[in-house]
């Protein structure tokens, strides 16, 4: 494994607070999702349909983009196209500058994180207020999200409390999560309502109507997007759906998979700026359609990944994520879906550990609401890494030697005999230390093999 990944994993595993925090949120989410899906007899059929809807859109992405562009333009919105993250950020910064924006209110968007929008705004000298409570917490802490639904999942209540006491104007007095949330409400309210520009992502782009759908439980999207003069949406190409009814089918799966609720508290479909007589709403609405590698993913064996609706269920149910949390993954997106996406976004050489650090247990695929074959896609990255010679020489040589012998049964049996003898030198029952096997014996004992292999004993007539 790479040193950088190794170091992040070690740091994460040594952080007991992190483990506590991740278990509290992911454990709760797992239980709630389980109850919601358990009460939905046709979940399996619904998710197959959801996968088919997304596959249809991905296969016809160009057509749907053009359709969406026309409908959104007709609603009065301005549609922009960005091939790369940098282009997308430049477009957003340009709109903000033209609007004379001093501050923007951002409603949590993982695409914004992916393209580096917070940093781009900062570099342009534009003030940014993160309005999602978790994003607010990590903005105060100067960190990045560690989960796509709960970006501050890695923080315990005690850590959040400390942060609010240090940074809020009127921090909470009573030490409770309710009081902490109220402290954030006091802190953010004015900033949110006075922002010049509101920036959001999109959960769905409705092709036939040009509507942009956002879902939140806090209502921070609406509070961030309705008061400012300008509303900017940045959305990945894969967010398209043919119609509202298709979106509804996916929404049922999204909310249940993420939080176990039947629907998010606030589900809003925006279509263009303020109209004649409207008492609120933005004067301009801009939609930035962002590719950033998506069209290439479609054509390079990762089309199924574009089904993803960003519910977070795969990471909540991942044994690796539950141990190391989100930051150790090192990319924008953590967990199983992140381990598929990050090599595509950041390059495989820098991230080959992510597809490697997976037990292939298949739980992520089982819970995915759009049936993404995540283990298969991860295996695809491992194969690419092998083909491109990115795997360590020791592994390649070891595996090569093993495969060479295993193709020659007589030689293989001799090798097994030798290995058995070597292991039994270290002990006959439990072996607690064995040369070259520190990976195993560092944390667990190894049962010594029997004196003779099955094949040898069978050949001698034992039954």
């Amino acid at each position: 494994m790479s040193r950088a990944f190794d170091a992040r994993v070690d740091a994460a595993l040594a952080d007991r607070q992190l483990k506590i925090a991740v278990e509290r949120t992911a454990g709760t989410a797992e239980a709630k999702r389980g109850a919601a899906i358990g009460a939905w007899p046709s979940f399996a059929a619904a998710r197959e349909r959801a996968a088919a809807i997304k596959d249809h859109v991905i296969a016809n992405l160009g057509s749907y983009l053009v359709q969406f562009e026309a409908a959104a333009t007709a609603s009065g919105a301005t549609v922009h196209w960005a091939a790369t993250a940098d282009e997308a950020c430049a477009i957003v910064v340009d709109i903000c500058r033209k609007a004379g924006a001093k501050s923007v209110a951002r409603s949590k968007s993982m695409l914004g994180e992916e393209i580096g929008l917070p940093h781009a705004l900062e570099a342009a000298g534009i003030g940014r207020v993160e309005t999602d409570l978790a994003e607010h917490i990590i903005q105060l802490a100067g960190e990045r999200p560690s989960h796509i639904i709960w970006p501050a999942m890695h923080k315990t209540r005690e850590q959040v409390s400390e942060l609010f006491h240090a940074r809020h104007r009127e921090p909470h007095v009573e030490e409770s999560i309710v009081a902490m949330a109220a402290s954030a409400r006091r802190q953010l309210r004015g900033e949110m309502l006075s922002a010049d520009v509101g920036i959001s992502g999109a959960n769905f782009l409705i092709a036939d109507s040009g509507q942009v759908c956002t879902v939140t439980n806090e209502g921070n999207a609406e509070l961030s997007l309705v008061p400012p003069r300008v509303h900017i949406v940045t959305a990945g190409l894969e967010k398209l759906v043919p119609s509202m009814d298709h979106a509804v089918h996916l929404l049922r799966l999204l909310a249940r998979s993420a939080t176990g609720a039947a629907l998010t508290q606030y589900t809003t479909f925006y279509a263009g700026p303020k109209r004649a007589g409207d008492r609120d709403g933005p004067e301009e609405m801009h939609i930035v359609l962002v590719d950033n590698g998506r069209s290439a993913m479609r054509d390079e064996g990762l089309a199924e990944m574009l089904r993803c609706i960003r519910c977070g269920a795969c990471m909540n149910h991942c044994v690796v994520f539950r141990q190391i949390g989100g930051h150790a993954y090192g990319g924008t997106y953590p967990g199983p879906m992140g381990s598929v996406l990050t090599p595509a976004l950041d390059g495989l050489a820098a991230s080959r550990d992510l597809p490697g650090a997976c037990t292939m247990n298949g739980k992520c695929q089982e819970v995915c609401p759009v049936a993404i074959p995540l283990p298969t896609l991860l295996r695809g990255w491992r194969e690419k890494s092998w083909r491109e010679g990115l795997e360590p020489v020791t592994l390649r040589q070891g595996l090569g030697l093993w495969a060479w012998a295993a193709r020659r049964p007589w030689l293989y049996r001799a090798g097994v005999r030798w290995a058995i003898r070597a292991m039994r030198l270290a002990g006959r029952g439990w072996i607690s230390k064995l040369p070259l096997a520190g990976g195993w014996t560092g944390g667990r004992d190894l049962p010594a093999p029997a004196a003779e292999s099955f094949m040898d004993r069978y050949r001698k007539g034992e039954r």
């Binding site: 044994v319 490697g356 667990r444 039954r463």
Partner: protein
């Protein structure tokens, strides 16, 4: 007991059972014979190729797939005392050979008659007879068997026929134990942390025995339990069903 006439069954013993715990293989022979099968152990067998498959070495994995398909295709059924090795043959060989016109059909045919042993015995309607084990056990569902092959009720049904054996549920029984084949030595720190939680869950059941259907997972869990100083003993389920749980448990001198 009503059963189909004796099929000629190949036992694919798996590399781990061959080298580490032959008694799982002998238990399999015993149970299959009791279930009325004519069992053959193909001489040329070594490994299903999973280490290559999971390391990304597709070419080697495909080569193993071809060799094993050729070796196994003449039998009525192929029985494997491991969910993950059976899953490799059943689910991944057809995938690996899908684009090879000569081999695709043959791989499909072998896949269709490859069984994990507990699922096979259960499907044949076999139940252990006269096997007694006065103990309390808990059961871990190994991931490949569970999710690739749908093995869940079968081992419990079979164990239900063992006299005196009480099964207590394991909290998180469907949660991976952190073995993951080469994962456990490539990322030992993560693997250990996962195994620790699994071991704690096993200990919390109060059961004296831990059972599962995959030797890799069992070695991982038992090795962790022993390192923690616990008293839980671990067996492959087929050892229990074949009446061989009176012998050494995993890690006890064989």
């Amino acid at each position: 007991m009503s059963m189909a006439p004796s099929p000629r069954v190949a036992l694919f013993v798996t590399c781990l059972v061959d080298a580490m715990r032959p008694r799982v293989g002998f238990a399999a022979l015993r149970a299959l014979a009791d279930a009325g099968c004519e069992v053959v152990v193909p001489e040329a067998q070594t490994c299903c190729g999973q280490p290559a498959l999971n390391s990304g070495d597709r070419a080697t994995a495909t080569d193993f797939a071809r060799r094993n398909v050729a070796m196994l295709e003449s039998y009525a059924a192929i029985v494997v005392p491991s969910g993950s090795c059976a899953g490799t043959i059943r689910c991944h060989y057809p995938e690996l050979l899908a684009d090879d016109p000569e081999w695709a059909g043959r791989a499909e045919a072998v896949a269709a008659k490859t069984w994990e042993i507990l699922a096979y015995l259960d499907a044949r309607g076999w139940r252990p007879e006269g096997v007694a084990l006065p103990a309390t056990a808990t059961y871990h569902d190994s991931c490949s068997g569970l999710r690739e092959l749908g093995i869940k009720a079968q081992p419990r049904r079979l164990l239900g026929a063992v006299d005196g054996l009480a099964l207590v549920p394991l909290s998180g029984e469907e949660t991976c134990c952190g073995f993951g084949g080469t994962f456990c030595v490539k990322y030992p720190a993560i693997s250990n942390a996962i195994a620790d939680e699994k071991a704690a869950a096993v200990e919390a059941t109060g059961a004296g025995l831990l059972l599962a259907g995959d030797l890799g997972c069992l070695m991982n869990m038992a090795g962790k339990l022993h390192r923690r100083g616990g008293q839980v003993r671990a067996f492959h389920t087929i050892e229990v069903l074949a009446g061989m749980a009176d012998g050494p448990a995993i890690g006890e001198a064989q």
